[in-house]
Symmetry: C2
Subunit: 185 residues, 2 copies
DNA sequence: TCGTAATTTGAGCGAACGCTCAATGTCTAG
DNA sequence: CTAGACATTGAGCGTTCGCTCAAATTACGA
């Protein structure tokens, strides 16, 4: 059981952690800085979280979930829907997008758990895009659709990576052009 | 003036720094670990480098340079040449590829200098690819070729990002397919 | 071979790290 | 209103961080 006060502090801590990772990266995200942003003292932090790692992992989960919303939906979403949702995610939740990219990179080492999570998530996204591509071009065989989906998903991440570096990059335009190209004329 | 002994230690330190960044990321790369791998003591490190930052920046420069070799060449390279060189870079110098991606991500914050360096480098690569695309399809106007080049370069980074996560990813196949698609049939 | 410049040694500095805990303050169910 | 669960406080723990320096050792031109 938690009191209202604690739940609010928990929210502040998670928000602070998320914006910190986006601003200064995983390595620059310290307990001290989190506590300053959240207006909380270290003791309070450790009353609400077991460790710094736990708070970070909460934010990571949040970012991974945000990148493809409504994953249980399983309904036949169109490619345009998926693309639009992705563009909205990156442009409207830039801090989460930064976290997502930061995670994808740092997952390459160390932690098998995090790596597996990222790869499983990637797998799910590819399947979803493959379904949409098949629906748009029913004559394509399954493996061809899957390959195009994989190409599209990985390219999307690359564009996001560049967008967080250079906000003037026309993410929406390039992503839409790539999608059109990938699905074929 | 440097003695042979110092130059060799310098090489060991740079190699240790490079593999460490690839293995554990920028945040996990500490002086202690660098010195262990390089079989050197901290005092020696600081006799050869001004700071940890300097050693890291040397490796970063190395990675950025490796990603498009022979930049002064300026000769008319074909798109296939550029693509093949890129695939070779990522698959044969995986640790440098990891460094390159790690840098691209962490450049998004903090250091304006590093960010500018990465963006300038990106600009150069786009120009080079745009030239190759124009040569392959002379009827395309300049801005169209440039947009396709930008799409290609950012997508390449995304595929590299995924490749360092999942070495079974068919980087060469996907990159070649994307290039074919981008340049048009 | 000798002189000096380069290099190595390794204890240890101050600062920052993640984290703890006993005391004190605040909330809320009954 | 009260009791007891929950939350906040903040000094400070042990560790690791990047880095320094005087002394000892090694390399190399003359």
């Amino acid at each position: 059981m938690r009191y209202r006060r604690g739940l609010e502090a928990r929210e502040r801590i998670l928000r602070a952690t998320r914006t910190l990772i986006a601003d200064v990266g995983l390595e620059g995200t310290t307990i001290k800085r989190i506590c300053e942003r959240a207006e909380v003292l270290p003791g309070s932090f450790y009353n609400l979280f077991d460790s710094k790692e736990q708070a970070i992992l909460s934010v990571v989960r949040e970012a991974i979930d945000a990148v493809d919303p409504d994953p249980e939906h399983k309904g036949p979403d169109s490619l345009d829907d998926l693309i639009d949702a992705y563009i909205r995610f990156v442009t409207e939740q830039e801090d989460l997008a930064r976290v997502y990219i930061a995670i994808a990179v740092s997952a390459g080492r160390n932690r098998t758990e995090l790596k597996q999570r990222v790869l499983r998530h990637h797998e799910g996204r590819v399947e979803r895009f493959a379904g949409a591509i098949t629906r748009a071009r029913p004559e394509l065989d399954a493996t061809e659709a899957r390959q195009r989906a994989e190409r599209l998903v990985t390219s999307l991440n690359g564009m996001t990576l560049h967008y967080v570096l250079d906000p003037t990059f026309d993410l929406a335009g390039h992503v839409r052009a790539l999608a059109t190209e990938t699905v074929g004329v």
